[in-house]
């Protein structure tokens, strides 16, 4: 049996061709295979990462971006712990579709799901969406924000490691709050302190946090 302390489901969504599969491949296999065909339905990868000595297993669901697979991919939202919404910084339409994606997330995903906005393909020099615009959008919609390049392996590891760390902290504080409810009120402080420690995680790493609410 594999030993890991936490298991989290991470689902990648976003328009076709923004590089979801490449992000996953880069992270799980260290590869950047260009010219891959479009993903059909869903693809599924597993990688175990270690955060502060704790093994965290990430189940990464790579979904097809094309419209006709929507009813397949939607069915995976509910069980997701984190949703990575990806757009292509060199392609305005993929950014313009973000509200549609958010509506879908709102409709199908758990309200507690961790949402991360990712602008991919920073290696391209024909950028159409400035970092600030993406940041702004993420802030408005209560999401974390990160720009990546699957091709240059930029920020890809960080993206997934920070998700793992954040989800772990969330799971911890949830445990703490559950046990604090069962015990008396003085143990509340444990839950609170871990909560406030966690809130800084993304910002410590100099990466834009989308709003303060991360419970």
């Amino acid at each position: 049996m594999e030993d890991y302390k936490f298991l989290f489901k991470v689902v990648l969504v976003g328009n076709a061709g923004v590089g979801k599969t490449c992000l996953v491949r880069r992270f799980t296999q260290g590869l950047f295979p260009p010219g891959q065909g479009a993903t059909i339905g869903v693809d599924f990868m597993i990688k175990t990462v270690e955060v502060e000595g704790e093994k965290i297993k990430l189940q990464i669901w790579d979904t097809a971006g094309q419209e006709r697979f929507r009813s397949i991919t939607q069915s995976y939202y509910r069980s997701a712990h984190a949703l990575i919404l990806v757009y292509d910084i060199s392609c305005q339409p993929t950014f313009d579709c973000l509200p549609d994606w958010l509506r879908e997330i709102q409709e199908y995903a758990s309200s507690k799901v961790l949402k991360i906005l990712v602008g991919n393909k920073t290696d391209r020099d024909d950028r159409e969406i400035p970092t600030q615009i993406g940041e702004e959008f993420a802030k408005q919609h209560d999401m974390y924000f990160l720009e990546t390049s699957a091709k240059e392996a930029e920020n890809v590891e960080r993206l997934f490691y920070e998700i793992a760390a954040e989800l772990r902290d969330q799971a911890r504080s949830k445990d703490a709050s559950v046990s604090s409810q069962q015990r008396t009120n003085h143990s509340d402080s444990i839950g609170l302190s871990s909560l406030s420690a966690k809130a800084n995680y993304f910002s410590q790493n100099n990466c834009c946090t989308g709003g303060a609410s991360s419970n």
Binding site: G37, A38, I40, G41, V42, D43, F44, I46, Q59, R68, F69, R70, S71, I72, Q74, S75, Y76, R78, S79, E107, Y108, A109, S110, S111, K112
Partner: protein, 797 residues
């Protein structure tokens, strides 16, 4: 041998020692005075005993002589053998090296011979080629003149099989000879003939196609490969077949509805048409594969499919257009989407998740009845499965054909990827993905709406533990998952499983939890509640007992439903998993992982249901058990626990506290025994036992006891324990341990007995470990008024 040798060496040494002993006479004489007879005699005695010993040793040595002799002779015999072996092996070595030399020279000769032979045969071939060249050259022209295309193509084929470079070299080598011109001219003549023939065949083929003359089409189709024009032949032939299939399928599509009506299969009309359509294509491949393989060789089937697939895509597209139109697919999709949108927003405050609607949600007049799409869903799954079958068939055929090609692994791989890419990118596949999407939307709508309806129409038969909705909901979900299996698409199945889990965790759990949240109406016991009930009944001008009864029933039934649902979920996912695995015996690793993960999701619904059950039981505890139980147990405080012998006798003669308590508890439990599922009932008894022990502990700590009071208490707690144990199949002894220990303390004859009972480190005895802390023990002992405080303080623990 070695061993005996060593033995003899040690013996020799012993002998030597003996000898040296014997020689050294002075040693023997030692201190003995040899001047006296006595001394001499003593020495003589020693000497003679030494002599005896020496004789004995000699005997031993001599007795071994024979043994040693045989060993020596054995050795010498072995030596001769070894020498012989040595010479033999030398001889063998010689022979082997000799043979190897011989073999080398032979193989060199063979190699030379082989070379010579191959040269000879090459030469022969060239001669044959030259001869044939002339023949072909002459033949091709006459054949063309005589319209004997097969024969002409045969000559061309022979010509094409010759090595052009070789011909050129032959022509160069025989330079000066008069034949040179004839070789060159023959080549030229044949090349011209090839072009001419090829044009003719092309023309004739087109003509045959125009005339729709199948025999001629096939005749010329077979000639193309002879002229080295394989690809062209395949293309032309496939296009011809495509056009034939096109007209055929158009007719079929037009007739599909009428035909279906005649067979009373209207609801499957398009599935049937799809089946015939795809079967037509499969048939073309099946029928023509032997011809193509015979005339063209392996590896050309793929080219054929490439052309046919385009036609197939087109025909399927038409079919689906028609299907969408007749079955009003788009209209229905829009209806569902509109409904989800309106329904989703109205209940979002109640639901943490997604789009769930209450049964009254939406309220749109245009609402789609899930039953209406039931048939369409079935039709779509069949259509989808047919396409999956079609792909499977084609993939198998083409792969087989490619594998027979004798290509390198890498090349085969390349072709196979090309095939997969073609499948992935073809319109047929895309159409099917769109169709699957429609299916999933419909299936989800069907499942959720039907489940909501089942919840709405929930009916409860008196005497039953659970109500109709759990059977109905699980039936619906199983139906949906089963139906998804018929699509043959793992993606589709997994999505439906996901949706099933959502449906159960959403609408279903909410429906179960609703009545449980309101609590169990306890009615008459709770004064405040009773007062409220009377108040409201006065206000509303009607008596509510019936409503309370109904609410109670509903509570119990939903609690049982929740409990049974955990079992149903277990059965659902295990049976679905085995059914899916039976259908897909060759799953890829990825498919297996995805399926596994989705099934785990379905499995985890059990946890939610378990939580609902626990929640319900807690509700039952706080509203039905706790208020009454506390009252009964508090009666304990009204009893006298300082009894004299006479009082004891009269107490035992009357109704004791424990008898009163057991009667009350029994009647309480009897209320639930029949109506609760056995697991829920056991859980209830367990909760009850826990409550009793904590409450008992409280009242005991509020009382004081004398010796007899403690004795009575001990008897009563035992009786209570026996009763509770008999009430359930679960073990509740553990729950009673603390109380039993408290009572044991209070039942001590003397304080000095305490040490016999208390042994915190003793794990061997049947007594469970002490659950009471030392300070608690002291506190409890003070409840016995006849124990002195100083004595209690002195107790060592």
């Amino acid at each position: 041998m070695e061993q005996t040798h060593v033995d003899s060496v040690t013996q020799n040494q012993q002998n030597k020692n003996n000898i040296s002993k014997m020689i050294n006479l002075s040693d023997i004489i030692g201190d003995v005075d040899i001047s006296t007879i006595c001394g001499i005699e003593e020495v003589l005695e020693i000497l003679s005993s030494n002599e005896e010993e020496i004789n004995r040793n000699l005997d031993v040595i001599l007795s071994k002589q024979c043994d040693l002799d045989t060993k020596v002779s054995n050795l010498s015999r072995a030596l001769t053998n070894v020498l012989k072996a040595d010479t033999d092996s030398k001889k063998l070595l010689n022979q082997i090296s000799h043979t190897s030399d011989l073999a080398d020279s032979v193989s060199a000769k063979v190699r030379r011979l082989d070379q010579a032979r191959s040269r000879a045969s090459e030469c022969q071939k060239r001669v044959h080629d030259l001869i044939d060249l002339q023949l072909c050259s002459q033949g091709v022209n006459t054949a063309i003149k005589e319209d004997d295309y097969e024969k002409g193509a045969g000559y061309v084929s022979r010509f094409l099989s010759m090595d052009k470079k070789m011909l050129q070299r032959t022509a160069d080598e025989v330079q000066g000879n008069e034949d040179i011109s004839s070789v060159a001219s023959a080549v030229k003549n044949l090349e011209e003939g090839t072009v001419k023939l090829s044009e003719l065949v092309n023309f004739k083929f087109d003509e045959a196609v125009k005339k729709d003359d199948l025999a001629s089409v096939e005749r010329f189709f077979k000639i193309f490969p002879l002229l080295g024009d394989h690809s062209n032949g395949i293309k032309k032939f496939s296009s011809y077949i495509s056009s034939k299939l096109s007209t055929k399928s158009q007719k079929e599509l037009r007739n599909s509805l009428e035909l279906a009506k005649a067979d009373k299969r209207t609801h499957l009309a398009f599935a049937d048409t799809m089946t015939t359509l795809l079967e037509n294509f499969a048939k073309v491949i099946e029928v023509n594969q032997p011809i193509v393989e015979a005339c063209y060789g392996n590896g050309y089937l793929f080219q054929m499919l490439e052309v046919l697939q385009k036609e197939c895509d087109l025909e399927v597209k038409n079919l689906i257009l028609e299907f969408n139109k007749i079955r009003r697919i788009n209209h229905r999709v829009n209806q569902i989407n509109d409904y989800i949108k309106t329904g989703g927003s109205s209940t979002s405050s109640v639901q943490t998740l997604g789009h769930y609607r209450t049964s009254s949600g939406g309220g749109s007049v245009d609402k789609l009845n899930p039953k209406d799409i039931d048939a369409i869903i079935g039709e779509i799954t069949i259509m989808h499965s047919r396409v999956e079958l079609y792909f499977k068939f084609m993939r198998r055929r083409i792969t087989n054909d490619l594998e027979n090609c004798n290509l390198t692994e890498k090349e085969t791989e390349k072709h196979l990827t090309k095939l997969e890419n073609m499948f992935n990118e073809c319109m047929l596949n895309r159409s099917m993905q769109e169709m699957l999407s429609t299916y999933l939307l419909f299936e989800r709508y069907f499942m959720e709406e039907s489940a909501l309806k089942a919840i709405q129409l929930d009916a409860y038969d008196p005497g039953q533990l659970s109500s109709s909705m759990i059977d109905d909901v699980f039936f619906i979900i199983r139906k949906s998952i089963r139906r998804s299996i018929t699509t043959q698409s793992m993606n589709g199945i997994c999505a439906v499983i996901n949706n099933a889990a959502s449906c159960l965790e959403g609408d279903f759990v909410t429906a179960l939890k609703g009545p449980l949240k309101q609590g169990y109406p306890s009615g008459y016991i709770d004064l405040a509640q009773a007062y409220n009930a009377i108040q409201s009944s006065i206000q509303q001008g009607k008596i509510q007992t019936n409503d309370i009864e109904q609410a109670r029933n509903n509570f119990i039934v939903q609690l049982n439903n929740a409990d049974m649902s955990t079992e149903y979920t277990e059965t659902l996912w295990t049976s679905m998993e085995s059914e899916i695995r039976a259908h897909f015996n060759q799953m890829s690793k990825l498919e297996n992982n995805i399926l596994e993960s989705c099934l785990t999701e379905l499995k985890s619904v059990k946890d939610s249901l378990k939580a609902v059950t626990d929640f319900g039981l807690q509700q039952l505890k706080s509203s039905a058990i706790k208020p009454r139980l506390n009252q009964w147990i508090d009666q304990f405080l009204t009893y006298n626990h300082h009894l004299t012998e006479e009082e004891l006798a009269s107490y035992e003669a009357g109704e004791t506290f424990v008898q009163f308590l057991i009667v009350q508890i029994d009647s309480l439990l009897n209320q639930f025994k029949k109506s609760l599922s056995s697991r829920n009932y056991d859980a209830l008894v367990s909760i009850l036992a826990a409550e009793i022990t904590t409450r008992m502990e409280r009242v005991i700590k509020k009382s004081t006891f004398n010796r007899l009071g403690g004795l009575i208490l001990d008897q009563e707690v035992r009786a209570l324990g026996t009763y509770l144990t008999s009430a359930t199949s679960w073990s509740i002894r553990d729950k009673m341990t603390r109380l039993t220990q408290i009572v044991t303390l209070l039942n001590l004859e003397k304080l000095s007995e305490f040490s016999e009972y208390f042994n915190p480190n003793d794990n061997q005895s049947d007594m469970p470990a002490w659950r009471i802390t030392p300070s608690e023990i002291k506190q409890i002992l003070t409840l016995r008024t006849d124990f002195r405080m100083e004595d209690i303080k002195r107790i060592k623990m």
